[in-house]
């Protein structure tokens, strides 16, 4: 029984833990209708499962469980200074799903949560109510897919479609849904909304293949982006994080050529770029999860905003990206 052998693991979502007070929620029923073979275990509070003692993040990634819960306040979080606000004054993000189905070696979520299990907060309507109250005061920019990849879960939850529907009724709200999935087909029937930005995170194919486990290949993501552009959506291209791997200049040169030939760059809404950076408290946990990681073994430097490459290295990489992606916004 080797830890790398998937046949020893239960399949993903073999068990669904559901908070007792949302057992009858319509979204719970909808999600469960996709998971007919899962064993359902009612729990008083999602943290009874999510925050158990001595969980093993990397092992749990081999057999992720689903936890359905009720979101309690706060429904909106102030945007982190480590993230781009794209010039919006009221920059917030939501966390309607915690954790992600992908396993990116550089992902900060690994150091953030005690568990790799997926928590879906089914009461999206309460987030909408909280947002409506705030929107009465001021226009807002809300990123809906920061602590997860919402579009990757779309077939199970339908959250992105719900968000787009909500945004269509509130034009003083701008939302960004960021993804690594190639699942645009799940929302392709919806008419494009001027205040909805669909953002794709992409990396060079060699990096995606080796460091972004279970994500769709670069060409599939580019295809999804192209379809979205052709349908008239505002599409944001994110090269974030850029990684200082061996021979990075050659790798990113080739990557830029591939992006350029696959996408009409002049029709993109905008770009977002950034180099690898993680919060202060995350790197240790990430190294613990990937003890042999070449990427994470780099001698990063610690600044007030967290761990990243040394300033000199960072500027070389950022200058490179700005040069390639022109009007990019620097972090």
């Amino acid at each position: 029984m080797s830890d790398c052998d998937r046949s020893f693991w239960n399949p993903d979502f073999s068990h669904v833990y559901i908070e007792e007070d949302i057992l009858d929620h319509p979204r719970t029923a909808k999600i469960l209708s996709h998971l007919t073979h899962s064993s359902v275990i009612p729990v008083p509070h999602y943290k009874d499962v999510f925050c158990r003692k001595n969980q093993h993040f990397a092992a749990q990634k081999q057999s992720m469980k689903l936890i359905l819960a009720r979101k309690r306040e706060p429904f909106l979080y102030k945007g982190s200074p480590m993230c781009d606000d794209f010039g919006h004054e009221n920059f917030f993000y939501t966390s309607d799903i915690m954790n992600c189905m992908y396993q990116c070696e550089y992902c900060y979520l690994q150091g953030m949560y005690p568990s790799a299990n997926i928590v879906v907060f089914v009461n999206l309507e309460d987030t909408f109510l909280a947002l409506e109250a705030r929107l009465k005061e001021k226009p807002m920019y809300v990123c809906i897919s920061y602590d997860t990849d919402l579009l990757a879960f779309e077939n199970l939850t339908g959250f992105v479609a719900d968000w787009i529907g909500f945004a269509s009724r509130h034009l003083d709200l701008t939302i960004e849904s960021r993804t690594k999935s190639a699942n645009f087909s799940a929302i392709s029937a919806i008419s494009p909304q001027p205040n909805v930005i669909l953002a794709w995170s992409i990396s060079p194919a060699s990096i995606a293949d080796s460091l972004e486990k279970h994500t769709p290949p670069l060409r599939s993501r580019l295809r999804s982006m192209r379809e979205a552009i052709e349908k008239g959506w505002k599409v944001r291209l994110c090269v974030d994080p850029m990684l200082c791997v061996e021979d990075w200049e050659r790798i990113y040169d080739r990557f830029f050529e591939e992006v350029q030939s696959a996408l009409p760059l002049d029709q993109l809404f905008d770009f977002s770029i950034g180099v690898f950076r993680v919060p202060k408290e995350s790197l240790k946990a990430m190294r613990g999860i990937h003890p042999g990681s070449m990427l994470l073994s780099y001698p990063f430097t610690l600044s007030e905003s967290g761990w990243s490459y040394p300033e000199e290295q960072k500027s070389v990489m950022m200058d490179y990206l700005k040069d390639r992606f022109g009007s990019a916004t620097a972090h």
């Binding site: 029984m1 080797s2 830890d3 046949s7 020893f8 693991w9 239960n10 073999s14 068990h15 833990y17 007792e20 064993s39 359902v40 275990i41 009612p42 729990v43 008083p44 009874d48 499962v49 158990r52 003692k53 001595n54 969980q55 093993h56 092992a59 749990q60 081999q62 057999s63 469980k65 200082c244 190294r287 003890p291 042999g292 990681s293 070449m294 994470l296 073994s297 780099y298 001698p299 290295q313």
Partner: protein, 290 residues
């Protein structure tokens, strides 16, 4: 390492025989049996005894987080007589364990695929004598059986303080439906023996894991020995030692070797802390090279 806990010797005997375990004569507080990779303890009946015994076992034999624990035993079914006929003698793995005396549940991390069906377990403060269980805060999950016994929740909680949650397995064989007076040691032993092959292959499956095998290896690798030598030579403080170990670990991942490090080191142990500090700083800069 694999640790097995059972409450009564009659439940343990078929496993002891099958795995050819020997009693450790020096252990007088508890009956503890062992073979190459496995320790088995007879805890005694009841939550408090079980918790104490598990804590003793895991402390005494210096359990590592990556070790495994199997809690094994018999239990009663909280159901009607008809349903009891269908599951009597069946072996189940706990998916949820409710500690009735403390009114709290624990949820084993069911990552591994096992050959056993799932059940809910209720740990009671006394023997289950049939009928409904007062104070149970949840309904029966059809078709998942609800089983009653007296140790599982305590064993799980104690073990989880030491081990990864997904390395703890709780298995129970249904022996009765509350009419436990009719049970004899021979009946219990017979029920366990019926599942001897299944249990033995499950134990072998655990023993085959990398973590159990790694527990046997005590060879220090060359890099670790070299690092120990450096730490000794430089008279480092605990804080410097921790920093150096962290940096050296990352350096080793990047460069795959410590070749060349020793040439930068003094040949003999430094005489003063100041000298050690200077050497430490030089070494630190080497380890910080990208």
């Amino acid at each position: 390492m694999l640790f097995i806990t059972v409450s009564m010797l009659s439940e343990a005997r078929p496993i002891i025989d099958f795995k050819e375990m020997k009693r450790i004569p020096q252990e007088t507080r508890y009956q503890i049996f062992q073979n190459e990779n496995t320790y088995l303890i007879v805890t005694g009946v009841g939550g408090t005894k079980a918790m104490m015994a598990v804590t003793y076992l895991l402390t005494r034999f210096q359990a590592k987080k990556t070790d495994f624990l199997l809690s094994f035993g018999t239990c009663a079914l909280i159901r009607s007589a008809e349903e009891f006929k269908a599951v009597r003698g069946g072996i189940f793995q706990a998916g949820r364990i409710y500690n009735l005396p403390f009114q709290r549940a624990c949820y084993p991390d069911l990552l591994y695929r096992t050959p056993f069906c799932e059940a809910d377990l209720v740990t009671l403060p006394s023997i289950y004598r049939g009928g409904a269980v007062p104070g149970l805060p949840f309904a029966i999950r059809d078709p998942i059986p609800l089983l009653a016994e007296m140790e599982a929740a305590f064993v799980y909680e104690a073990a989880n303080a030491f081990l990864f949650a997904h390395h703890i397995f709780v298995l129970r064989i249904v022996s009765d439906d509350g009419d436990c007076d009719a049970l004899t040691k021979q009946t219990v032993r017979g029920l366990v023996a019926e599942h001897g092959g299944e249990i033995a292959s499950f134990i072998e499956w655990i023993e085959e894991t990398d973590a159990v095998k790694q527990g046997k290896s005590e060879d220090k690798n060359i890099e670790q020995a070299l690092l120990d030598e450096i730490i000794y030579s430089l008279r480092l403080t605990s804080c410097q030692q921790n920093e150096l170990i962290r940096l050296a670990g990352n350096y080793l991942v990047r460069k795959k070797t410590f070749d060349g490090i020793m040439s930068a080191m003094p040949k003999a142990r430094v005489k003063t802390k100041r000298e050690g500090k200077e050497q430490y700083e030089r070494l630190r800069q080497i380890f910080l090279e990208p």
